[in-house]
Symmetry: C2
Subunit: 132 residues, 2 copies
Amino acid sequence: MAVAILLLKMIEFQFYFQKLSAEVYIGIIGVLFTLVGIWAGQRIARKRKMQQGIQQGEFKLDEEALLRTGISKREIEVLEWMARGLSNQEIADTLFVSLNTVKTHTASLFLKLDAKRRTQAIQRAKDLRLIP
Amino acid sequence: MAVAILLLKMIEFQFYFQKLSAEVYIGIIGVLFTLVGIWAGQRIARKRKMQQGIQQGEFKLDEEALLRTGISKREIEVLEWMARGLSNQEIADTLFVSLNTVKTHTASLFLKLDAKRRTQAIQRAKDLRLIP
DNA sequence: AGTTGATTCATACTTTTGGGTGAGGGATTG
DNA sequence: CAATCCCTCACCCAAAAGTATGAATCAACT
């Protein structure tokens, strides 16, 4: 901006001493400031895009879908491990519960996600943005 | 742009008949064209982003990973249906082969993807960009 | 012509997963 | 305090998935 003003003064100088017409002078100013504006506009847009980019990269759980399906916290935990490829027994070990407990959770999940298999449940959950 | 020039003419009119100083006139022009520039710059940025967005959304198979793992075309097919949540029997029906054939393909996939379960295989395949 | 790899299928067996049901304890809420 | 929901666990049975091995066919490459 400072550079622009400086240039403006120089042009103004020429305006008085070299008798450039007012129209040319105005035109130069217009072009100059338009360019400055374009530059500023792109900077603003880029900054906005960066902020959006971070949000896109991160996963945000869809709370609305959670309530709609009625899936509990524990069930989401099981779902997450399931999606990572763990077996029921492995999930049971990581969550410190019995295999039967994990089975009940998965059965409940299949019901709430309208899935017949764990692979299907994972697919549905991703569509509903319950897991990344 | 046309509107801007029109405004300019109006201001020019006032310049001559209301004796505004040249500095104020120049300032108004500068601000006006800066705003026009910002508007144009953001439009350009938005258009660029849209084009990028389309490319991001599309899936591109990682050929290199395919060769590295040595997974065949048929196996990829099985993998894709598997990831969509189909059972082995359902995959067999859609590909018009027997259940046993699908089992051999899946077994081969687990070996090549270093997975113990289908859920794990799907996860690995997504990481390797073999499936979307 | 022989080798190799992909695809297909089979049989037999084990493990995992899923379905159904019941039930006890804990937290919350009307 | 009764009702409800969540979490926990158990048992049984059926279905699906996974493991191991062998084998036939076919296309491509040497």
